[in-house]
Each structure stands twice: as structure tokens, then as C-alpha cells.
Amino acid sequence: MNETLQIAAFLLLPILSFIVLIFFGKKLNGHSSTLGLSLMGLMLLNALILIVNAEPYNLTAKTYEKWSIYNSFEWFSTGNLSVYLGYYVDNITAIMLLVVALIGFLVHLYSTEYMKGDPRYSRYFAFLGIFIFSMNGIVLADSLIMMYIFWELVGLSSFLLIGFWFEKDRPPMAANKAFLTNRVGDIGMFIGIMILYFHVGSFNIKEIVGGVSEMDPGLLTLAGLLVFMGAIGKSAQFPLHIWLPDAMEGPTPVSALIHAATMVAAGVYMTFRIFPFLTPDALAVVAVIGAITALMAAITAITRNDIKAVLAYSTISQLGYMIMALGVGAPVYAFFHLVTHAMFKACLFLCSGSVIHAMHHSLHHLDDHHTDPQDMSNMGGLKDKMPITHAAMLISTLAIAGVPFFSGFLSKDGILAAVLSYYYKYDGWTIILPIAGFGAAMITAFYMFRLIFKTFYGIPKKKDIYKHIHESPLAMTIPLMLLSVLSFAFAFTANLNPLKSWGWFKALIYKYGKNHNFLNMKYVNSGIESAHYDAMYLSLFVASIGIALSVLIYYLKKVDVDKIANLFNLVGLYSLSKNKFYIDKIYNMIFYKPFLFQTRTASFIDWDIYDQKIVDAWGWITLKISKYTGISDYSILDQKIIDGTSHLTQYVSTKLRKTQSGVIQNYLLGVLAILVVFIIVINQI
């Protein structure tokens, strides 16, 4: 019971924050952040207490204590169908909870300053509360259906937070786009859940993992991929990644929390959970999608000028890495990367937020409402004005670029090793995976340094703006410092050898790479081990190329940017990158616009055509109706079956009225005629 209560606190604390703030936020006003922050603090404490329980893998003894706590409660039952809500906590869950709590706490802290002066200050914290609530729900969920429920709820909170500044034009659209794109994935996920339910008879993930063995492999592949569709949406994988860049319309701390560290990682987390029953075929698809995403997003990021857009594409790219890792059978590294990425990417976003904040204040000071505070071409040379931000950003950039001694190196290296071993094993087309992996690694290093150089180095582009730039206040810089510390490799491993990733963290998660229903994980893992060194050298090589190029072009300015752009444009790469591979346009062209057109057509058919068609079948009644066609649109709409028949009767009525001519002798004639007809005709029968 105590455990249950402790676990429930992860849900209760944030929802309490939400409820209190949504109803009493106006009264609390400035204190709302204090409330939110203190509740988050409690939660962080709780997460720390929880993780102490987690049992690490003992490398020497090769044993581990099986630590997990779980419990479930019947939500409702119709007799034969019972739906349970419950939690399942193991090492992975505990780490995720800690990540969420930590970053959540830091973002709360950061936001107290960042959001100051916003008219809906308290509502912002309320929304953060509901987000943390639903994110924790996903993490804790022991069943797919519960995961789906919170899955949707994070969608809601993401919608609310992206559209937080709804008075502007773009945020509401971005919010809609995010929600709807996610729903596309969710449909697949829902269908997948249903398939699994009707074959296994349970929504519980553990039971599904245990029970899928009797399923038809083809169907299981389908089911796995359908569930994975949810991850494609949530983790912004190709082809549903389009919402994430737009989602940057939300406040920057939100981007850090939701769209970099936690929510987008939920897809990876979920795929991690279902990994054991994904068939090899399904995993191949997963790997390819991850690879495409990683490379494509990285290429797109090169040409972004908006500081947050670069980070957004970088996030997509890194998520692609994680998905790819899952696909090639390295869930441990995927999860590792998830956590390290959460730290450094949150740090990057918060840094960029700090920069934007400073730019914004400066612009505000100048009373300039036209200049975009996020545009890197307006920045430059900020390192002197914002030393802490600069330092934090540099550290996290080194981490993401995969430089040794930084956390990103550890996890990315593992992923690349796994990809390489996968290629070694399967050969053939799988070459694209290492190409994408290493290529993206290089490009990542390149564009991240480009960002650093354009923002913090060089000559300030706009002097007057530069003049009013100040370092952000302490509440904002503390999170930066903390997160940048966590971006160092030693945060995850006490091992100072940059080439060894074993440490307390890996010990906690190591055993989760050992179970799979179809793959022999022993071989897979040993393959990864053996590819380790190849991958490491190669990745160091490509990373240094990327950094060197960046230094050459943007710091030393030895090479003209345009020339390179033209060079790449020979193969169309530059314009592809510039136009985000045209995906938005393509969607607009082949989905969105035709779809809207179709709905209009549907509505038109429903109102206009449907009736006419039916009435057509009634033959000449159509003639009657066609008279009105020209008169007005609306009157056509209403010539329906009922109207048609009513017209018919009215028409017959008018005709029949002529028989009642008013002349008595006609009446008599009519009587006689019918009488004769009856006598003659019917008598014959």
C-alpha cells in the first residue's frame, strides 16, 4: 500500500498542481509558480527515493536482483471484458520518472523567470502540471490501454502548451497540427492494441509479451508496426515528424520539457516496452524509419536560421537515432541515448530560451516588434554578454556532437556500434543504416557548431540589439548549469576512460537488452560488442570532420557559405534541406488540400447530390426539381427524397384536380366511363 501511495504521488502531485492552479490560479497569481515548483520538488524527491530501490546489474556476479513493483486496479468491467489500470515500476520506469521529475523541476524553476509578466502566468504552470501528470502516466502504465490514455493526454497538454500564446496566429495552428498529426499515429496504435488484445486477451504489456508467441507472425508484425505508429507520431519520426518544428511556437521551456526531453521520448519509451515482441521484420522497418528520420532531419537542420528550428530538427534527428537503435536490436543504447539526450537537449533548449529571452528584452527595450528574436542572423558575439549560457550551450553541443568525455558520446557510440553490427550481420541494403547513422553524426556536429558560432561568436550583427543584451537571471541559469553538468560523461559513468561506457547507469539498464521473443539477444549483444571499436573510430572521425568543417566555414570563415551551398545544390541537396525536403508542401498538396476539398465535396454530396440522385431514380420528378436548380443553391439542398415525393404528390394532386372540372356532365361521363371499364375489363378476368 505504501508503495502504491508512493507511486500514486507521481500522478497526484502534478494533477494537484493543475487543479489548484486552474481554479485558484488567479488568486495565487505570482505564487502559482511557487506552488508548482514545490510540488515538483516533492516529486523529484520522490523519484530519487524510488530510484534508490533500483537494483543494478552486477557485472562480476552476472546477477541482478529482480526489482519491480506493480499493482493494478479494475477500472471497470463488463463481465468478460475488464479494463485494469495499474503501474509497473522497474529500473527503466524509475529512471524515466527521475528524468521527468528532474527536467520538470528545472523547467518549472526556469519558467518562473522566463514567463514572468505573462497574463496567464498561473495557467502556464497548471498546464505544465497536467503535462507532467500525463507523462508520468505513460511511464508508469502497465498496460497498453492505459498507456494509450495518457498518450492522448500528453497530446492534450502538448496542444495546450504549444497553443499557449493563442492570441497570435501561428501557435494555434501549430497546436492543431501537433494534435492531429499525433492522432494519425494514435489510430494505428489503437488498432494495434485491439489486435493484440483479441489475440492475447489482455492489455497488460507483460502478459502480451508472454502471450504473443501463438500469434501468426505476419499479424504480429502488423500489430507491432501499428502500435509503433503511435511512436512515429509521438516521437516525430518520418513521415509524421512535421509537427515538431511547428511546435516550437510554444514557450521555449515547454519545448525543452516536452518537445525535447520527455514527451517526444515517450514514443521511444513505448517502443522500448514493446520491443520484446516486435518481430525481426517489424524491427527492420523500425530501423529504416529511424535511419531516414535521423539523416533527413539532420540535413534539414543545416539550413535553418531560427535557433529553435535547428534544435527541433536536431531533436527529430536524435530521436531517429533512438528508434534506429531499437530497430537494430539495441534497446539499451536507445534508452541510454534517450536519457543523455534528455539532459543535453533540454539544456540546449533552455540555453536557446535564455538567448531568446535576452533578445526579446533587448528588442522590447528598443520598442522593436518586427525583428525576430529567434533568428540567428540577428545574433552573434553573445558569448561575452551571456557567459553562463554560452558555457552551458557549448558543453551540451559537445555532448550532442559525440565528443568523448561527454554523455552523448557514450550513448551515440553504442547506437552506431549496433547499427554497424547490424550491417555486418545482414549486409545488402542495410548499408543505408550505417550511412545514415554516421552521416547524421557528422552533420549533427556540423550544424550544432554552426549554431554556436552564429549565435555566440563573431561580430554582433545588430549593434543596437547587442547593446541591451544581458545574461539571464539566476533562476534561469541554475538549470542550465545543472543540466550541462549532467551532459558530461562522468554523470553516467564513473569510468574516466572515454571509451568505456559501463557505469552506474548502464548497470541499471543493462538487463533490459537481454529479452526478446524472436531474436537471440546474446548474439546481438556480442555483435554490438565486437563492432564497438570500428564504430567508435568511425564516429570520432565523422564528428571531427563535422566540427572542423563548421569551424572552417563559420568561425574562421575560410570558405564561402554560398559556394558550398551551390556545390550541394548540384545534387539538389541544398534546396531539399532549405525546403525541409518539401514534406510539408507535399502533405499540403496530396493530403490536406485534397482532403478539405473532399470534405466539401462530401458535404455537397450530402446536401445537393444525394437527394437529386435518389430523386433521379424517381424519373420525371427530377424535371420538377431541376427547375429550382438554377434558382438558388439552398433550395437544391432541400429537394430531398421527402421533398421529391411531396412534389410528386403535389403534382399528381394538381393533375387530378382537373378531373373535378365543375361541370356536372363531365362527372357523369366519368362515372359511366369507369363503370364501363369495370364491367368490361374486370369481367374478363
Binding site: S646, T649, Q650, S653, L668, G670, L675, F678, I679, I682
Partner: protein
């Protein structure tokens, strides 16, 4: 039974003759103010006398087999008497009628009443012809009682020509029937017909007789006179025509056809047409035509009376539907429906009279706003119209259910059921046209409403039965069932 013995079963009719003659005499003696009292007392007495008549199912053949007094006729007489009496009451409050001719009016109505009583009794070809003529001839006069009104005059002209033409055709048919069988008593004729080998002559005379009866009940194609006469006649007369003669017509139609042209010489058994002369199919077809014509033509009418005339035709069609099954259920259904129909139709007509009296309107669109001007009566009017349309929760619905039921019970003419259902939907439209006009328009009516207690009471009473019989009809139904 010989003539003297017969008298005791003939008292109500005698009283009516007496009454008619005496009010004419009273008029001659310039004692006009006694006329009304006299009529009321007389009708009351004849009602009492009617109560006294015990009528067994087999009935008494009176006046040497010219008439029969049985439970069947007894029931119809009540319907006829109630409707006629209410018409006489209402006629005192109609502004249309010339007070000067009230005695003639009453006398004519009483003669018609007598004729209708005889129609329900007749079992002899002679009496059939005579009673129909006795109803018709005063009716011609009644239709034209507004001497200086062109429409009334035209109505009576059309009525007389059409009526005498139809009765001429019927008489021709009767003469052939007489020739085939050699008798005028329908029971005797039945016995002879059973021996006839070729059914063709029977068929022709049957059709000609159907013309005569059909004209009385406004069956298509003999409905032509109905709308014109109904529109032209004073509303009170129209109301009168729309119920009592229809009931009498159905009585004579059912009795004659059931006895003469079926395999069974009785009203009380389900049976089939004689000699496979498939006249029930003819009736079914005519019923479909009748209801369709009635409903379709009613759709486009502007004049309320004319619309109600067509509505009457359609109701006749519905009743014919039950008749076409030549079954006891059908007869019961008709008798049951007639009771409902009498009340709802009369209350609707009385409302029309009330509105004409007060607001002087004839057309449907002129009815606008009456729902708010005369709220209570309007609610009852709506009730009556709903009932005429045959929707629950009203007795019209119950009645229609019984009519439909006969088709199911005898398992024939399902197609007719479908036609009837389609017709029901159509009928809604025009009944609701009145409702719409009454309520959906914002027109403010200036005229003051003058409420006359008897009119008011009758409308409310007759209309209230729509609910009453809807809740508890089984007693009435069981009663009718007991008559067979």
C-alpha cells in the same frame, strides 16, 4: 310479421314522421317558438324509444319482410341519431342559415333522418330504393336551402342531377336483379341467385347497384358531387352530409352486399363473393382509388370545407378497405370507425362553423392566428385533426388500427394496406396545413370572439372523445362485436 305487429318495432320512425309533420303544422299555426322545443323533445323521445327496442342478432322481419329490425341497424341508428341531433342543435347557432326557414330545415332533416333509419332497416329492393330516395330528395333541398346564394344553388343542382342519375342506374340494376330472381326480398333473391349459373348478369346488376350505394357514401368514381356540394351547401348541412348519410350508406351497403352477393346469407360470418364474382377485388381497387383521390385532391385545397369534403372521401376509402375483406372483422371495424369518425369529423366541422360565425373566413390561410385567438377550442381542433390524420394518441389511430387489422386478419389485400399507409402520410400534410395556419402565423385578429355555450360544449365534448376512446375503447369494441 304483419303490419300491425310490426308497429311496435317501428315506433321511433313513426315518432320522427310525427315530429316532422307536427312542426310544419306548428309553423302554419305561427307557433314557431315551439318548434325547437318540439324537435328537442321529439328527438329525445325517439332516443328513448330506440333504447326500448331490444334487437336480437337475427332481428325481426317486419312489415311482411320489407324491413328488418336487428342489432346491426340498431347500432347505426344510434350513430345517425346522435349526429343528426347534434346538427339540429348546432343549426340554431349558424349565422349562415336564414332563421325564417328554420322549420323547413328541421323538417327536411327529420325526413332525411327517417330515410336513413329506413336505409339501415331495408331488406327489400323496393325499400332500398325508396329509403335512398327518401334521404336524397330532402338532401337536394337542404343543399340549396340558401335560396339566394349562387353556390348553394349550384350545389343543389349538381346534387340533384348526380343523385337522380345514380339512383336511376341503381334502379336499372335492381330491375335486372328482380328479373333474374323474381323476388324483391333480398333473402329470397339470395336463394334464387344461388341457382343462377351464369354470373354475368349478377355482375352487371351488382355494379349498377354499387353505383347507387357508392353515390351515397361518396365512393370513387361517384365522389364527384361531394366536394362541390359540400362547398356550396351551408356548413351545417355539409357537416350533416359528411357523417349521417355515410353511416346509413354503409349500413345498407354492408347489409345488401353481405346478404345478396356472398356465399353466406348472413352478416355474421366471414364469407366470399358469390359465384366467384370477384367484387371484393373491385371494392378493394375502388377503395384504393377513393382514398388516393380524396387525399391527393385534398392537398391543394384552399377552402376548408372543400378540403374536409375530400378528407371525408379519403375516410370512406379507408372504411371500404375493411369492407373489401367481406368479413365480420371488417364490418366491426367499419362500425367502430364510424363512431370515431362521427365525433372527430363533426367536431372539426363545428369548429369550422364556429370560426365562420365569428371570424367570417372560408380559406385555410385565413385561419391564421386563430390558435391564439381561440386557444381552448383550437387545441381541441388540433386534437380532432390529429385524430382525422390517424395519429396516436387519438381515437382516429385506434380506429385505423382496426381497419388495417382486418387486412391482416383475413390475409388479403396487403397491397391495399401499403396504399393506405402511404395515404395516411399524405393526409397528415393537409390536416397539418390547418394546424400550421392556426399556430405558425403571427397575424393578429381584430374580431371579438363570441362563444356560444352549446357550440363550445359540443366541440369540446366531441373532440374529447378522441382521447377518451383512445384510452378505453375496448368496451365499445366488445359491444359492437356482440352485435354479430
Amino acid at each position: 310479421m304483419n303490419n300491425l305487429q310490426s308497429i311496435q318495432y317501428f315506433l321511433p320512425e313513426l315518432l320522427i314522421v310525427q315530429l316532422a309533420l307536427s312542426i310544419i303544422i306548428l309553423d302554419l299555426l305561427s307557433l314557431k317558438r315551439w318548434v325547437n322545443i318540439c324537435v328537442y323533445i321529439g328527438l329525445g323521445c325517439s332516443a328513448l324509444l330506440l333504447c326500448q327496442l331490444s334487437s336480437p342478432i337475427d332481428g325481426f322481419h317486419i312489415f311482411n319482410g320489407m324491413l328488418i329490425n336487428d342489432s346491426f341497424s340498431y347500432y347505426f341508428k344510434w350513430i345517425i341519431l346522435i349526429s343528426t341531433a347534434s346538427i339540429i342543435v348546432i343549426s340554431n347557432y349558424s349565422k349562415e342559415l336564414d332563421r325564417e326557414y328554420s322549420v323547413e330545415f328541421n323538417a327536411m332533416i327529420l325526413f332525411v333522418l327517417l330515410g336513413m333509419f329506413l336505409m339501415t332497416n331495408s331488406i327489400d329492393l323496393l325499400m332500398i330504393y325508396l329509403s335512398i330516395e327518401l334521404v336524397s330528395i330532402p338532401s337536394y333541398v337542404l343543399a340549396g336551402i340558401l335560396k339566394n346564394d349562387k353556390k348553394s344553388n349550384e350545389a343543389s343542382l349538381k346534387y340533384v342531377i348526380f343523385g337522380s342519375f345514380a339512383s336511376g342506374l341503381m334502379l336499372f340494376g335492381l330491375s335486372w336483379l328482380y328479373g333474374i330472381s323474381g323476388s324483391t326480398n333480398i333473402y329470397d333473391i339470395y336463394n334464387s341467385l344461388a341457382l343462377v349459373e351464369s354470373p354475368y348478369m349478377i355482375y352487371i346488376s351488382l355494379m349498377l347497384i354499387l353505383v347507387g350505394f357508392g353515390y351515397k357514401i361518396s365512393m370513387a368514381p361517384l365522389h364527384y358531387w361531394t366536394p362541390d356540394v359540400y362547398e356550396g351547401s351551408p356548413t351545417v348541412v355539409t357537416a350533416f352530409f359528411s357523417v349521417a348519410p355515410k353511416a346509413a350508406g354503409f349500413a345498407i351497403l354492408i347489409r345488401t352486399f353481405s346478404i345478396l352477393f356472398t356465399d353466406a346469407n348472413s352478416l355474421s360470418v366471414n364469407t366470399f363473393p358469390i359465384h366467384n364474382v370477384n367484387w371484393s377485388l373491385v371494392v378493394a381497387v375502388l377503395s384504393a382509388i377513393t382514398m388516393s383521390i380524396g387525399n391527393l385532391l385534398a392537398l391543394k385545397q384552399d377552402n376548408v370545407k372543400r378540403m374536409l369534403a375530400y378528407s371525408t372521401i379519403s375516410h370512406v376509402g379507408f372504411m371500404l378497405m375493411a369492407f373489401s375483406t367481406t368479413s365480420v372483422e371488417g364490418n366491426i371495424g367499419i362500425m367502430f370507425y364510424l363512431a370515431m369518425y362521427m365525433f372527430m369529423n363533426l367536431s372539426a366541422f363545428f369548429m369550422v362553423i364556429h370560426v365562420e360565425n365569428n371570424f367570417n373566413v372560408k380559406n385555410i390561410e385565413d385561419w391564421s392566428g386563430i390558435g391564439y385567438k381561440s386557444p381552448v377550442l383550437s387545441i381541441f381542433m388540433v386534437l380532432s385533426l390529429v385524430s382525422l390524420a390517424g395519429l396516436p394518441p387519438t381515437s382516429g389511430f385506434v380506429g385505423k388500427v382496426y381497419l388495417f387489422r382486418t387486412l391482416f386478419a383475413t390475409e388479403q389485400f396487403y397491397w391495399l394496406g401499403i396504399v393506405a399507409i402511404l395515404n395516411s402520410v399524405i393526409s397528415l400534410y393537409y390536416y397539418f396545413k390547418i394546424v400550421k395556419s392556426m399556430y405558425f402565423s403571427e397575424k393578429v385578429i381584430e374580431e371579438k370572439e363570441n362563444i356560444q355555450a352549446p357550440v363550445y360544449t359540443l366541440i369540446v365534448l366531441f373532440s374529447a372523445q378522441n382521447i377518451l376512446f383512445y384510452m378505453y375503447w375496448s368496451d365499445l369494441y366488445n359491444y359492437i362485436k356482440g352485435l354479430f
